[in-house]
Symmetry: D2
Subunit: 150 residues, 4 copies
Amino acid sequence: MTERQVATRRALYPRFSSISTRWGDNDSYGHVNNVVYYSFFDTAVNQHLIECGVLDIANSASIGLVLENQCRYFTLLGFPDRIDVGMRVTHLGNSSVRYEIALFRNEADLASAVGKFVHVYVDRATNQPVPIPPAVRSVLEPLMQAEAAA
Amino acid sequence: MTERQVATRRALYPRFSSISTRWGDNDSYGHVNNVVYYSFFDTAVNQHLIECGVLDIANSASIGLVLENQCRYFTLLGFPDRIDVGMRVTHLGNSSVRYEIALFRNEADLASAVGKFVHVYVDRATNQPVPIPPAVRSVLEPLMQAEAAA
Amino acid sequence: MTERQVATRRALYPRFSSISTRWGDNDSYGHVNNVVYYSFFDTAVNQHLIECGVLDIANSASIGLVLENQCRYFTLLGFPDRIDVGMRVTHLGNSSVRYEIALFRNEADLASAVGKFVHVYVDRATNQPVPIPPAVRSVLEPLMQAEAAA
Amino acid sequence: MTERQVATRRALYPRFSSISTRWGDNDSYGHVNNVVYYSFFDTAVNQHLIECGVLDIANSASIGLVLENQCRYFTLLGFPDRIDVGMRVTHLGNSSVRYEIALFRNEADLASAVGKFVHVYVDRATNQPVPIPPAVRSVLEPLMQAEAAA
């Protein structure tokens, strides 16, 4: 099996959310623009935190800023598609958390793309790193899984 | 009752689709940016046409170009919200169709915003207006309703 | 002369800013998506206010929310293009200001699109309408011009 | 000197283009959303190819699809800012090209973010990899530079 076949099945991801593509997500080549994939990443991560009650966009004293992210693209997405966004946590440090995120097109079991996404928690006023708040940590720990072999 | 109360209830709209907001839809003021509302409009219209089998983005010989659109904003939308997009046709001409589109936030019965959206059909190669294709017309006629009094 | 020829020449607009299109602005039809035109509108308006020193995004006590906007599309824009955004004020009320905005593609003297854009000033904390702040009014008055006949 | 100081000065990049931020690029935290950085990457790369006359979006027989990209974020960007996008080629293979792209905010000499971006050339009709067209290769070779030490 190839790396893609090993690393990107739905069963690897403990948490899913769904996002529908939009007309304007397609670019001149008639497929979802690579840029849009990253909007699926931060939408899924922040939606999880909000739904778990540990992020209040307007008021949380510490917030996650993106330190680094990346994406590998295997197959194309389009409009209209439903994208199931699988999410797991591959590293949980003192101030930062690393997510692995996979995008599944409609009923597909193999991911169309897989990304990594690192949030560092900072004090909202000073932008200085702070420990991940305990409430946030408690909703991330259940998503912890060993990262797929590279 | 105010104009908004008369004109913008869910019951006025024969066709709905749902769109979820994304993290980046919110702007610096913490609410969905006005620009994004228009992406809900063309997403809903084109999705309806595609699901009805009368638009093939890559191959249809005649396509709808936006001639004019507008939006009135009543209340704010945010992330994460589910937006139910109500759609009806208020004018069906030879080459052009006018839609009225209303955005309902989660369970709300009154619209957060109401827009108008005019597509003119053109030949894909020449950009010259053509009659609305019969297949397109047949899926738009059931959405025809008198426009709400201004 | 047609309406478009009368109403949309560069000479009608006292203030210009320039915006370059981006790869992802183009949609499946290979032209700038209608949604993106509205991003040119609020970018030009807010940039003018910031450059004049009368809007501090993070701290201004009263801010402009979009009450209504609209756009008529005459000719297509694409990537890569430089868009010169012409702006004038056609109505300055107690709490609201109406802009007319025209988009000129590269060297063109006739606009590719013309929009209207209404900001209502609200208290940032309560979202209730407030008078346009005097400093804002002072930078809008020089942009006042009679609206083109419809 | 830190990695950032070594690897991200303007002098390392042989080619620049400028992009202005837009109102809606800022997200709820009041800074340019991470997603938007990737739009600067593909805008700069494709604009270079178009300006050099080696990419015709609508007609080129082979096109570059994004295989992989990534970004490390050092300091925040905002609206309104002018972003100078520095670009160099760090690997030029048979079918694929790897770019390193750095974003400089206004007059800054140190990059706010550095990304990598891999295009694979494919036949437009079949999506199968093809050799980079000679004309494309000829405009990429002058941008070749050794990648900064990691």
